[in-house]
């Protein structure tokens, strides 16, 4: 009996086996290896890399650039996730009820998803050029021409938090169409009978949204936060292409690259990588558990 059942599932397992092995090695094996480096003293190529416990995980916080890169990363994340959610939700809200040209609007809002962060960086670097006054170009020039000169600013060269907020802007431009598509699918997924029932009960359109539609969008919101958040915590290409390795806008992923390539410090680089992984895992793992469970219930 047991034999017969094994004959049923064994071929399937064998077919998936190559992928299981690859994922086991490249995802989980390498994560383990990375932790091994992070727990070692391999600060130079010639170091043997002996085990030193968690000292890198505490010492890294003594490196000023690391702390500031974490702060920069958090500001970027707040502005990017918040901005893309608000804009994406607003666009979906505007498109929920039938509107002329819906397909074209969607196509326009989504096209930035098809291009690379580096290409986005090229054009936004130009748009966010910092000179003011008669040397102003990019958006600063546009503001001046439109009589909005007071909006001129230093963008990513600012010495306050607005430098990271500026860098989040192209990311919002690139990703909010995606969030729009997710929310629009969410809006459309609310059964029309539910809305109709509320209307029959005398609710106006605003109340229909507030009390009927919005509560149904919670899973979409959660999914959006996860997608945006995990992109944000590892952001690299966009920041790097616009402002290189400038300390002013350094984020954890750039810090890691610097330590490994410019200083040959694998141990601290691996520690930075491990922290980025932990930051992502903290919210992705519970999400995945929730997701797999709710799939099973279906």
């Amino acid at each position: 009996m047991r034999h017969a059942r094994a004959r049923n599932w064994l071929p399937g397992l064998l077919l998936v086996a190559p992928s299981i092995i690859l994922v086991a090695i490249f995802v989980y094996g390498l994560i383990g290896w990375n932790f091994k480096v992070a727990l070692s003293d391999q600060h130079h190529d010639y170091d043997v890399g002996k085990f030193v416990g968690t000292e890198n995980f505490s010492n890294i916080w003594d490196i000023r650039v690391w702390s500031s890169s974490v702060k920069n990363g958090l500001i970027f994340t707040l502005v990017f996730v918040g901005g893309a959610l608000l804009l994406g939700f607003f666009l979906a809200f505007l498109m929920d009820k039938a509107i002329k040209g819906e397909g074209s609007f969607r196509a326009v809002y989504l096209f930035p998803m098809a291009i690379s962060f580096v290409a986005t960086g090229v054009v936004w670097k130009w748009l966010m050029a910092s000179p003011h006054g008669k040397d102003a170009s990019g958006l600063n020039r546009l503001f001046a021409d439109l009589g909005l000169g007071s909006l001129q600013n230093d963008w990513y060269n600012s010495t306050t938090w607005t430098n990271m907020a500026s860098l989040a802007l192209p990311a919002v431009w690139q990703m909010s169409g995606y969030i729009m598509a997710l929310f629009l699918a969410g809006f459309r997924g609310v059964p029309e009978e539910l809305r109709e029932a509320a209307r029959v009960d005398g609710a106006n359109e605003w109340k229909v949204y507030r009390y009927v539609v919005l509560p149904q969008l919670r899973p979409v919101l959660l999914t959006s936060v996860i997608i945006l958040g995990h992109i944000s915590l590892k952001i690299f290409d966009l920041v790097y292409s616009i402002n290189g390795k400038s300390v002013n806008t350094e984020v954890p992923a750039i810090f890691m690259w610097q330590r490994v390539y410019d200083r040959g410090d694998a141990a601290i680089g691996a520690t930075a990588g491990a922290y980025i992984l932990l930051a992502v895992a903290v919210f992705v793992v519970p999400y995945l558990v929730w997701f797999v469970r709710s799939e099973k219930k279906r």
Binding site: L22, G202, L233, S241, V280
Partner: protein, 291 residues
Amino acid sequence: MTAVAVEKSAPQRTGSDAARKKLAWSSARFVLLMFFVLFFVLPIYVLLVTSFKNASETDPSHAWALPSHWSFDGWRTAWDEISPGLANSFKVAVPGALISAVLGSLNGYVLAKWRFPGADVVFTLFLFGMFIPYQAVMIPLVQLFTNLNLSGSLFSLMLAHVVYGIPICTLIMRNYYATIPDELVEASRVDGAGMLRTYWSIIVPNSGPAFAVVIIWQFTSIWNDFLFAVFLTGTNNWTATVHLNNLLGAQTVNFNQPMAGALITSAPTLLIYVLLGRFFMRGMMAGALKG
């Protein structure tokens, strides 16, 4: 919220009043949506206009104006700089996308129709692989490829993309195959067909759209990747995005070259988006874990 309160807040309106309000609201929506179209399209205008400007046309007061002399210099230089990268990107993205699709299809088939004990655990572990930040594996990955004597090669880059693409491709395929009725698979089994026969005769012929989605998804993400390319490839094997980044880094005032370069680099994926947007959309929605 009591029914009475709701009723009070929704007084009866005359029909024409309501119709006028509805019209006003949809006009307002249209205007707002058009405004955002500007926000999304503005960078494209900038890319095109600047790419055709002459290198000497740097007067900031004309930043938003059309070129005073249309020039192809930027395009020519950008093409010379980026074309070797384009070839490399194709060499990685095309086979990478195809292999990913085959692996994803096999995995998806088994996970949807031929489940084994522990399949849920495997699936969950795959899914986590979808979210891992590559920074957390980059140092050992480079080391591993060095040990395997693959360091700097296009093959190593393709291998990395294929492996780290397994989770998303598996997810898309599995969700698609879940919609193929179990009875079809059962019937084939009863007829005595084995797992692979069933795959060939029932699953593959029904997989067209799913293959399109996965291939487009993988091609786009491999093409647009910068991080793996910059860590894993040597100078001769740089992909288009790395060349573009170098072109940008070399410029301070003059943007005609990088702007042209950005358009050249983005052309293949934009073309796919325009021609096959439907499949592109489906891939994105599947990437959101919602099939």
